[in-house]
């Protein structure tokens, strides 16, 4: 098991790293008119771009870890029984993995999709 200081170092590092990758993700919506950037073909083209797909995957992983660890901290402060603490740890890890898996599926499938 990780020590709390190690978990929080991961929390801080994922936060800082996420800042950069999310900034790029948001800026990609501004390289063309906003509504145009959301059209099916343009979005699929993004997913076909391998570096961008890697960027999306990294956002997924970093934000999932940072966000669900933050939720774990909030929930741990709310109640302090052994059962609750184990429940919170398990649920946040499962939720983290679930969201990463679901998002990765989207990236992989979209990467394989042809243009409409």
């Amino acid at each position: 098991m990780l020590r709390e200081s190690q978990i929080m170092k991961i929390h801080y590092m994922t936060g800082i790293a996420a800042l950069f990758v999310v900034a790029v993700h948001i800026l990609m919506r501004l390289v063309m008119p906003f509504n145009l950037s959301l059209e099916f073909d343009n979005v699929i083209l993004n997913y076909h771009n391998l570096p961008y797909a890697v960027l999306l995957e990294s956002i997924l992983v970093l934000i999932a870890i940072h966000g669900f660890n933050g939720l774990r901290v909030i929930l741990l402060e709310m109640r302090q029984s052994r059962g609750w603490e184990n429940f919170v740890t398990v649920v946040t890890i499962v939720a983290m993995m679930g969201v990463i898996a679901y998002g990765t599926r989207t990236i992989i499938v979209a990467n394989g999709l042809s243009l409409g």
Binding site: E4, M8, K9, Y12, E77, M78, Q80
Partner: protein
Amino acid sequence: MITVTETIEKIERLDKKRAKEHVGKEILRSSITLKVFRANRAVGEAARYDTFEVPVQRSTTVLDALLWAKQNTDHSIGIRYSCRMASCGSCGMKINGIPRLACYTKMSELEGSTITCEPLANFPHLRDLVTDFSQFFAHHKDMKPYIQNSDADLDASQITKLSEYLQMPEDVDRFLQFSYCIKCGLCYSACPTVAMDIKFPGPQALGQAYRYFADSRDTAPKERLDLVDEKHGIFRCHFAGSCSTVCPKGVDPALGIQLLRGHLLGFSKNEKKVAELKDRSKA
């Protein structure tokens, strides 16, 4: 080295500055309505608020007003107090919703015609304005609030050695302000994490953990860091700063906690200058 004259001049400058800020802010009244929380947990008495009309003067403190009400109106008001000069930390309570020392809070600095006095939050309630401090002291004790030094000569027969640990003023300054803690519990009452987390040691205990960590006579810094590196330890502090806002002695526990965390995270170097044990008899 700051001289006495410089200190007096500084206080006079600050007094003038505060006088300018407080002109119009000092609220002078001839009487006040004191609203006091009343409940006796031991007999299961339901909580209520009793009001008292209390005459006040310019220098009347909340403690003065409570004791006047206790002496002249209702002798049964339960209240803890001792030194009446912000030195013992006994009279901590919530005054108009903020944890303060009753002896250190003047009526003239409080707004409104009704002053509400309630027991400190986050402490088990006993009666009226009195709360139970045993959890608070237990958290403090968990931090091992004493110098740990395996080299220290504790054998009484060695007393003739006259040994002492040398500390320069700079070494003392590293922990001095944290040693001024009077354990009044105001910081514990203000802390948002303590409001929910019963296992969190609280700002007072963590501040004292830093006090001993930073002391050059202590040779167990790693053990002190390990003590707070827990699920409900130092990382449940989020620097809301409320502890330092309410501290009446300038201890600034938030500073101590962040500095300790800096050492734990590696932001600050962990090599510690350890005080030299000098055998004075061999000077």
